[in-house]
Symmetry: C4
């Protein structure tokens, strides 16, 4: 099957490729191989248990997204959705009804509910990857920092975070500020406030969602992942410091 | 050997199949392969150390159960018991003496002491899998919520839990309520209060056992497992929140 | 080489077998294979980091012991010492000078400093395996229970512990009592107080060593290991309960 | 290619070997194989997430160093830098500009920013390996011990630490003292105070860096690693003891 046949972006009714062509590669760093590997790892460290959390990778004009509501440690390449990038009408791939796909799994699966959130990072920051975690460290940080910002400073790990998530790395003398938005009943409905927070904090590398988790992105999947590690470390350490009265 | 020969459900004295026919399959998702794999994982994350905890899977008219008192990370398919489902006389496979088996291991092993508890989930909720953990998060939750219920709300992970464990998923606006029953000296003796709690809380996805652990079930093994992950996350986070005075 | 040639127990100067005969087996449950596997696992869970901790297994008239001061996750079968059992003159293999060996590694290694402690479990409880951990949960328990005993009750996991470590399992209604002895500068010097504690508490399944760790044994390696898991769980949970003011 | 051709230590402008000759070996204990393996492990246990932390190994007249700013669990032997040892002009390989290399990766990578810190352990203690971690236990220790020293005593694990990191092991009766230096914006700038601390505390096995992590070394990679494990255990336990009011 010729996968280009499916690239009609105008209509949802177009026949979408359900072959495995776009998600089959011997290259372990192909997004369709990386997403299952990284999701398995995120599940192992508590970022993606109970079907939550995950990562989306953008490779040039294609966005790779995992399915919704599945065990994140058991995703296979053939479960991955592929969407064309950009999708400007409507902006940010905001509703599931109007999304265009290059490829869908042949078994009945739905793309991640985080799709419009991942998309915001691609559109607003030109990110190449976006990670969402349900890490308890992120959630505890949103509870111990009850305002609209998580702030911490003077910790070496800050140096692993990039301005805006995609520019140069921060220095030891910079204060890390991560905006916190309130959670909404539907994950899709976070899009509006997430976009607002990203615009209000153009230098922020991530957005925390109260009682929910965090969105982190980067100019590559490697950078998104290492920044997610640095930020999770800082959330965890910040919480420990608060509880130990040394912050 | 013809394994159907052993399917006489009337009597314990019937010759029971001890061949490996019912527990041998190249399919990794066969219950006799899944139970060892999942028990090994549960042991790794602290749900099933010291021989405690485990999972039972029901596949149509067969129930697969692990042995009692063995290292849960070293179970092999040939250690698995297979029981016919349903067993209505007496209800809930309540005593070991009256249980009927399709298949027993050839080496001297006893079926899990949780058998009547797993059975309650099959009979009362039409569950296809039931998980029991000794997770310290579950135990700590029963100690910090000293009444008859664990209650928590406004946490994203609640959305991964199903009404009654088997119906539609809860929303972010729903409060999670898990009944807590008191522990008994013999695991089998929990059956009565577990059944009572399941009937009194038809919308509850699990039952906590004070100073012991939790029983969780689902309409499939995947769903039972992801719900067990969500609930364990919520027990852990709830305990952290109480101790940090943010609940 | 005929390994029986080395079985002259009278003198240290006898030629001791340094071939790999006594420690080479294709059976994964052979002590010389199990000890490396279990030590690797104990290292992973924090029981045996920094070269501390380990397990000794007795198989009929042979005792298998790991070397001292090595990375416990990198032991190989050929590093294992084999000692004849019993060694009654002097009792308890008390000093390194007077120990008799059936087999020593060909590279320069010394047998574990825990040898006389392991031996006490073999002699006094007829144990077939003895585990020593440096688990922080055990150490914290000795600090939060400042007297001579760790006591806890009404926790399901107690049912996985055996009276005296080798008899029938405890019930939910029994209180767990583990004697605590004071640490000594040299591990060998613990022997006297460990033996005293084992005699004073004939029903105890383990001995805690203040600011150091715990010794646990069982009638088989499987039982020693599952009891060590139950006890470590109880130390951890007991510490959590104390710190959360629910004990 | 003859790797000796590149051994002109006089000038940076010399052609440096970019072949894989110096980093290719079937021996798993070759430094170019060990560094990736150990970094992967350190990442797993939280010592080297977010690209931070690592290990350098000195083998006679060669020093093997990992690249800077990469995912520490994905290093490959061909990413390793090889530097000649010693490099006396200027001392301690203090600035990146003046370092001499035997071998550099063929892809654009920079040697670890910890290079001058690792070098200090080689020059001042004749160490054969130096480990740097971002362990949260080390960081929390620097916050709960606000002065210039971490001090702890009467814990068995102290016996796994060596005087000065390279001499005989400490006894149970010795107090462990680890100097704490203040962090600097650039990792390279730590060199001066690290060297000062190592000279002021010639018996110390490590140097803690406030709000950052720790440097540990040893007379072999095995010893550096087991000492790092003992020290991390002691930092973790010390923090727990402080927070539980038993220290």
């Amino acid at each position: 099957m010729n996968s280009t046949e499916s690239r009609d972006k105008k209509s949802n009714t177009t026949i979408v490729d359900t072959s495995d062509d776009l998600v089959t590669s011997p290259d372990p760093t192909h997004p369709a191989n990386l997403i299952p590997e990284l999701c398995r790892h995120f599940w192992t460290i508590g970022w993606a248990t109970g079907t939550g959390g995950g990562i989306s990778i953008r490779d040039d004009d294609k966005v790779y997204i995992a399915p919704s509501g599945v065990q994140k440690e058991r995703i296979k390449p053939e479960h991955i959705f592929v969407l064309p990038y950009p999708q400007s009408e409507p902006p940010l791939a905001s509703t599931a009804d109007t999304r265009t796909f290059l490829r869908k799994p042949s078994i009945p699966l739905k793309e991640s509910a985080c799709t419009p959130l991942f998309w915001a990072a691609f559109d607003l920051r030109d990110a190449k990857a976006c990670i969402h975690t349900h890490s308890q460290h992120a959630v505890m940080a949103t509870l111990l920092w009850p305002g609209n910002e998580f702030r911490i400073e003077k910790l070496e790990m800050i140096k692993g975070v990039r301005w805006g998530g995609v520019e140069g790395t921060m220095t030891y003398e910079d204060e890390l500020v991560v905006p916190i938005i309130e959670n909404t009943p539907l994950e899709e409905d976070l899009r509006h406030t997430l976009v607002e927070a990203m615009k209000a904090y153009p230098k922020a590398a991530a957005v925390l969602v109260r009682r929910h988790g965090v969105y982190v992105w980067g100019p590559s999947w490697e950078s998104a992942k290492t920044q997610a590690e640095c930020l999770d470390y800082l959330f965890e350490l910040g919480v420990k410091m608060k509880l130990a009265n040394v912050l």
